[in-house]
Symmetry: D2
Subunit: 365 residues, 4 copies
């Protein structure tokens, strides 16, 4: 009852990690949107991660459109994206028996679905379902870019290592990120982070991180009070991404230590438009975009699948046991979540634009 | 198009700060829920704040039911809550002329509503709309308590001052909080926070803080993958609360510095049920409740209305100006947001229960 | 869980017949829509019925806006319409004791709400809730008229008496209907229908009828396949109106006796636009408007409240009994339902326009 | 933005007639529902029509589950149904050039999708999309039957030929219908209808009809005032079915000629439960089921694709032309729409049950 996000543009996700396919139905797209397959494949490749630091499971993530596409354009009818699961090896997972992997959805999914759901590879909870989300987001990113709205995400922190912040105008940083293997603005920080990931891999352990996303070029006036504030909309879809455990806008949690006079973003007319002199609000006031870059962060927990022994419960027997997860797992997924954050932001923003000006407004002139 | 939250239990908010009334329509309540007016009034009084630290504007917040209530019980039909605005003094605000208050919705609301919306007192964006939200939440808190689910919120941090954490089982802490003026578990921390608030008041400045909420007694299995994860649902409604700029579950942003072996919550059978040995996940795995206490934090920015002079723009003339806000304003609203967080959590959780077992399941046996 | 209609423009109804008030929250309206109170009051008066043929209960139906209105225009925030119940006389109904009125919602409401709902005067099921619906519809009718879209409804049939059909271009008929007491195009048919209503009144009985509505000026292209076809959208809201038991478009049920060659609407270019040479489809092909007048009919059952003795069950005792309904009841409500059909059509059409072009598109240039 | 029906159980349709596939995502199903493939295939075969009277296009309609199914049971995760289009012959349709088929969606779809949608075979508007709807409905029909709720549809009228009515208790008639080729209760009427269909075929013309559906075993209390009345819910999904132009409950449009004393359904206690002594309301009072059989009719227009020459417009040139449709077309589709009506009713009823008692209530004990 809840696999659909959005009101004007609606994305419905489906699939299990080791079932036939994962996919999405995107409803509410206007006719005639260009589908840039190179762009989509680049985003999907990014989601698949770097060879050096990611899981060995390498699916081509070949997108098939079951409906809604014709000659490289959206028809305007529901667009169905399907990505077949080609290299699933249930055996790797079945070796776990009924032992619930800690901090995975194994136990909660078992309770929720009464044991009827296929849990292998995470089943419906697998991060693999972010692939169709990225594909859907790529189409909307293309449409938004034609309207001057660009989106980029970097890893702002990992194990104490901090990347430099986005520049006040992040447009150039967003371009820069497109060419990077690991989405980190400061090359030294990138090198250190790769070292951390390698250390974790060797130890059979894992790391997480903080993603910071910028959306440039969004005009003031988008977002709906009360319940569909821009922040509610963005956080709703971000918390759908597995492993995200925190979302903050602008100065976020550090606002708790500031005074109003430190935190407030004063306004001034510059170049004939109203601009804020700081961006502690992350581009949102009262739930509505204020025309400044939209800036938010997502905390990504360390990959829960680790090779180290962990105490857990065998769901079949109901007894305590110890698990060592041997399958193909990433010591880090935070970099792979970056294109997912971009896609999520594109979907959330496009939906709010379509509510205000209609889905036809997503067409380029 | 977005003043409604929830799918099974749906709350629709309306009103302007200086209009006739603020209110809510709550649809999807089962018939026969007891409406405990003492409880509701206590929550509303809490939202109005402490005399010593809050705004001088003291409205009685008298709740009137226009529909859906009979003899102290819900009818099962839409419940309409109305709270009249009795002490509005537009003059205080009109003195500001067209100057947009920084980090308020004055500018964004002006763009969104093209100048047709009444901005005095924050208009539709005013925190005053949280009063009907608290009233609606009080009814659901009563219903949830009859099912053994209790909710409490404390200020975990303000200007560097930290309250002690919730105990592993927060049930006793939740009871403790009900009797406190300022919702802070450690009396010393409370005293220091009051001092900070007073300092800010004297300076014509303001402070924010971090709220931490615990939901006890929620069974495993609630929440919907993907898009209506428990985290998505909770964050969606929390980010509707004005001034909330960050939401995190369990260890939240600190997970970025941890390894998987540190962060993972191992499982064990205890007293015939499966329990986690730590709660870094905040009671949620894969978007679904795991039976542990649900723990989340919300970052509340400092009250943006301050008496100190600030640079801003006059929306009428389109020219830079300086604003000094003289009206009745709180140096802190974070404590007043605590009952709002409780109400929001109650609404979000009740909605997920009603999706799984129907709205009839919210009735007590 | 279902008192809301619409996706872009959303109307939430509330109230009980003998409670404090009935009303509606209208969310998704753009800012700056003119609220023509004379128009709204005229529609509400029409809904109240003719003195000669309607119930003696004459409430002024004074509309109060609790939110969303300022200086005669919509603010863009949720518009809350409240109409107080001033002349409720519960005594009239309480005399019925627990006897369920046949073909009313007394029995079904009792089962649904377990006896907690106030059933007097029909409670939440009362036709009185159509008053705020008419008020909401009046605002949208004004907005649509500024875009060249007009709506009118006549009684096309009652007790075997048929009104003449709408002319091929119903625009003039729609104007004509605005000046009529009983909305019947043929004065002779009107006279005969009034005679039928009087006959029913004298007999302590009642009559129903068929309403036919025309929407002129709607361009081709509105409606959404599959589930929000123009027909689905219109029928959904029409069947919400109490007493409506059938809805048909164009030739409707008579299509069952026709061949394809008789039924099909051939096309031709006329005056530089594509037009159909007949309108058996009622202006809808494939669920999408085709630019012809939108024509639909609603079957309204006879008022179920009649003075004649009827067998029924006493819900309190669970025993058979006989009921004679003595309260203030109409021998006919079909004419009072005509402005409700107009309002319903306006809401449904405005919602579809707002989905395609945004709620901002409802503003006049 | 509208290819989804239902709130608790949600069906999202996708596909084009001559694209790769048609399908549906069904979200909100509980885990552990038995998927009876024989039943599903029988319903699909029924939808494909009788060899003698239907289109020669004979696709096997082989259902593939991309997600949500495991070992013959629902997992509880979104169930994705895909039916590949195997025998599409675009050539048949391309021969038409850009000539819009009268009373099809060719013209309206062209306007709506600006020419970007694939119109061959009706494209997204094709009746072929009812196949996944039937498949989804079959799963819910199985679940409802385990709760004692059965559904059946017959052709009650075609070209002046009337089938006998359902018996007061239609349960036996529903069983009878399962074994019939043409869903007509009276064999003589069936023979005459087949003759009409044959006559139309020979003439290059087509016929329509009226479908009457009975739902037995539904308890009182389902349906939601105001906007999700049982009638609104049923009509909404029925009007989604191509060619449906009218929907009526119980006595429907004939209520317009009756008096209240003739139309009202009196009540009486029989066998310890409250029953109506007639069923002019079709099992619905005040929008809520009353425990009597739910009875409704749908008017199905004649198949618009006919071989006879018709005036129309060439969309490419914008000029008048004459069309003769040569492809594989049915002289009647009304019998093929009968299983679609059953599926639609099952989905609508299951959704209302799931709202009241949760999606878990659809599981059999």
């Amino acid at each position: 009852m809840s696999n659909t996000f959005g009101k004007a543009i609606r994305v419905t996700l489906f699939g299990e990690s080791h079932g036939p396919a994962v996919g999405a139905v995107v409803d509410g797209l206007p006719p005639g949107l260009k589908i840039d397959m190179d762009r989509m494949n680049a985003e999907l490749a990014r989601r698949s991660g770097l060879e050096s630091v990611s899981t060995a499971r390498r699916e081509p993530d070949a997108v098939e459109f079951l409906s809604g596409e014709k000659d490289g354009y959206t028809q305007g009818t529901p667009l169905t994206i399907v990505i077949r699961n080609t290299s699933a090896k249930p055996g790797d997972y079945e070796a776990l028996g009924g032992a619930a992997r800690p901090s995975h959805a194994d136990y909660t999914g078992y309770v929720k679905y009464l044991g009827f759901a296929d849990a292998s590879g995470g089943g419906h909870f697998s991060g693999r379902l972010t692939a169709p989300l990225v594909a859907a987001g790529a189409i909307l990113q293309t449409a938004l870019e034609e309207k001057g709205i660009s989106i980029g995400t970097h890893i702002s922190r990992m194990r104490g290592i901090a990347d430099r912040a986005f520049r006040d105008d992040p447009a150039e940083d967003i371009k820069l990120l497109k060419g990077l293997g690991l989405p980190v603005l400061d090359p030294d920080a990138a090198a250190e982070m790769i070292k951390e990931i390698e250390t974790a891999r060797v130890a059979g352990d894992s790391v997480g991180g903080i993603l910071e996303t910028a959306v440039c070029g969004l005009d003031a006036g988008f977002g709906e009070p009360w319940f569909d504030s821009l922040e509610s909309q963005i956080s709703h879809i971000l918390f759908s991404i597995p492993a995200v455990k925190g979302v903050a806008f602008g100065a976020g949690f550090s606002l708790a230590d500031m005074t109003g006079s430190e935190a407030n973003d004063c306004l001034s007319v510059q170049d004939d438009r109203i601009r804020a002199l700081s961006n502690n609000g992350g581009g949102v006031d009262g739930g509505i975009s204020n025309g400044m870059p939209l800036i938010f962060r997502a905390a990504v927990k360390p990959t829960p699948s680790i090779a180290l022994p962990q105490r857990t419960v065998d769901l079949a027997s109901g007894k305590d046991t110890v698990i060592e997860i041997k399958g193909r797992h990433d010591p880090a997924i935070v970099h792979r979540a970056a294109p997912v954050a971009n896609a999520a932001a594109a979907i959330a923003v496009a939906d709010l634009i379509a509510r205000r000006y209609g889905y036809m407004a997503l067409r380029s002139e």
